[in-house]
Amino acid sequence: MSAVRELALPLSETDVRSLRCGDLVYLTGELVITAGMPTMQRVLDHIAAGKPLPIELRHATLLHFGGYSVEAAGKLQVVYMNPTTSTRFNAMMPTVIRSQQLRAVGGKGGLDAACAQAMRETGCVYLSFPGGAATLYSNAIREVVAVEWRDLILHYRLVKLRVERLGPGTVGIDAAGNSLYDGLQAAAEARLPDILAQLAADRAAAPGGGAGGKAGA
């Protein structure tokens, strides 16, 4: 049975290594978000050039979230935010995870095996947040700590937030290298012959049933 965990940010390696796939987490503290591929490319360029990042990512929690932010009376505000598809970042994340020793990444849809390997080495988890939970997650924002790379469109910028009980998120990949996503894809592939056999049986029993044309007729 999976656990429900209240976690304070920044996460320690011990915290992270104690999490298991399927655990539910709420996050409190500071984390960094961006939804931009150009942003992650810029992070990689900075890493390659040995240039400091405008927002420190070492041991950070970096989420693939896009948000709408405004500046009113000199105060920054994120009006709403929401997870985006993480798999877009597959090729970029291993380097970012390893070089910054990230403790948690997240978004929706998971990351691939190469990312899971980097996460296992550094002690990092992937958190899955339901797409379409913008209101719930936006309600958890307490403060916008920093917004950088303002030449990019709003949801691509690097934004540091202080959140209170952001969640729940589900541990989709744990630091032992287990991935809900890889397992499910493989299981679905393995089940496919049985699923197709069941479809054939259902077709035979259906109205007009086997009446499909013959291939190549």
Binding site: L24, T85, T170, Q185, A187, R191, I195, R203
Partner: protein, 288 residues
């Protein structure tokens, strides 16, 4: 007469409404899935989804931050009378919405050749037109489309395929989408006709309200067995495992030649879908 102003305001309102409230039938389907799914993670994820949808509706906030790009299906009654431009009204309505909506929209309209993003672009909003003989109204469905589920639609053209080949292809598209399209999804399938027509059928069938089975028993049975098959894959809500990968499968078909396009598309769990009928006398009926 149906005025330019009315079409402009109704189409903008449909877009706005689709962002803040998920359809009632979709809430029921999510609740049913939550009651039925055997996975703890799945049931919890479904509860988060329902909570999120309720919070968005209550706070008049967006369910998802990705408002997608504007897509409208317009059916013009042959007895409908217009006092102004129809396409222009939809374009202007979207511009006005972008300028006034609270909270504001993010820039999702993307030039595919340069990847520049903004609120405007060639052919935006995407509008398709059809005709309803004899009707004294115009029917408009708005279904904004975002990357999350839009990315996974697919089409392949077969030659004299068997039902077995068609259903196998649909399952392959489902497996390729895997965990990625924010399940539980609605699956739309278009079979036959031509390349363009199959895609349109898939999309329009996807937007059919739940519970409306295809009128032909053979197709209705196909919808039912495909739903069961897709839910046997195990991807589950948000692709983290479970029995609830799809809420509904809707199939549409048309005659064609011996080449048979099969188009498959998905709507994510928030199932953005809003419709209205505008009558000649100015009456507007809203639906989901």
């Amino acid at each position: 007469m149906i005025s330019y102003e009315l079409i402009k305001s109704v189409t903008a309102r449909l877009y706005d409404a689709s962002l803040r409230k998920i359809p009632e039938d979709t809430k029921l389907a999510l609740r049913a899935a939550e009651a039925r799914d055997r996975s703890d993670t799945a049931r919890r994820t479904l509860r988060i989804m329902l909570e999120s949808a309720d919070a968005a509706e209550r706070q008049q906030h967006f369910v998802c931050s990705d408002a997608g790009v504007p897509v409208y299906f317009v059916k013009l009654g042959t007895r409908a009378q217009f006092a102004g431009d129809v396409r222009r009204a939809i374009v202007d309505g979207f511009d006005e919405l972008v300028a006034t909506i609270q909270p504001p929209l993010l820039q999702h309209v993307t030039n595919p050749l340069t990847l520049e993003r903004g609120y405007k672009g060639r052919d935006m909003p995407i509008v398709s037109f059809d005709v309803i003989d004899g009707a004294d109204y115009v029917e408009i469905v708005c279904s904004p489309k975002a990357l999350g589920s839009g990315r996974w639609a697919a089409l392949e053209i077969f030659s004299f395929p068997s039902l077995e080949q068609i259903e196998k292809y649909i399952m392959q598209v489902v497996l390729k989408a895997g965990s990625q399209h924010c399940p539980p999804v609605v699956v739309g399938v278009g079979i036959g006709g031509t390349f363009d027509h199959a895609a349109k059928m898939a999309k329009e069938s996807m937007l059919r309200p739940f519970g409306q089975r295809h009128p032909e028993p053979m197709v209705a049975a196909m919808e039912e067995r495909l739903l069961k098959a897709i839910n046997a894959t195990g991807f589950g809500p948000m692709g983290t495992g479970g029995d609830s990968t799809a809420m509904a499968v809707h199939v549409e078909y048309s005659s064609g030649h011996g080449f048979t396009p099969v188009a498959v598309c998905f709507n994510c769990w928030i199932n953005r879908r809003a419709r209205a009928r505008i009558y000649n006398d100015g009456r507007v009926e809203y639906g989901e």
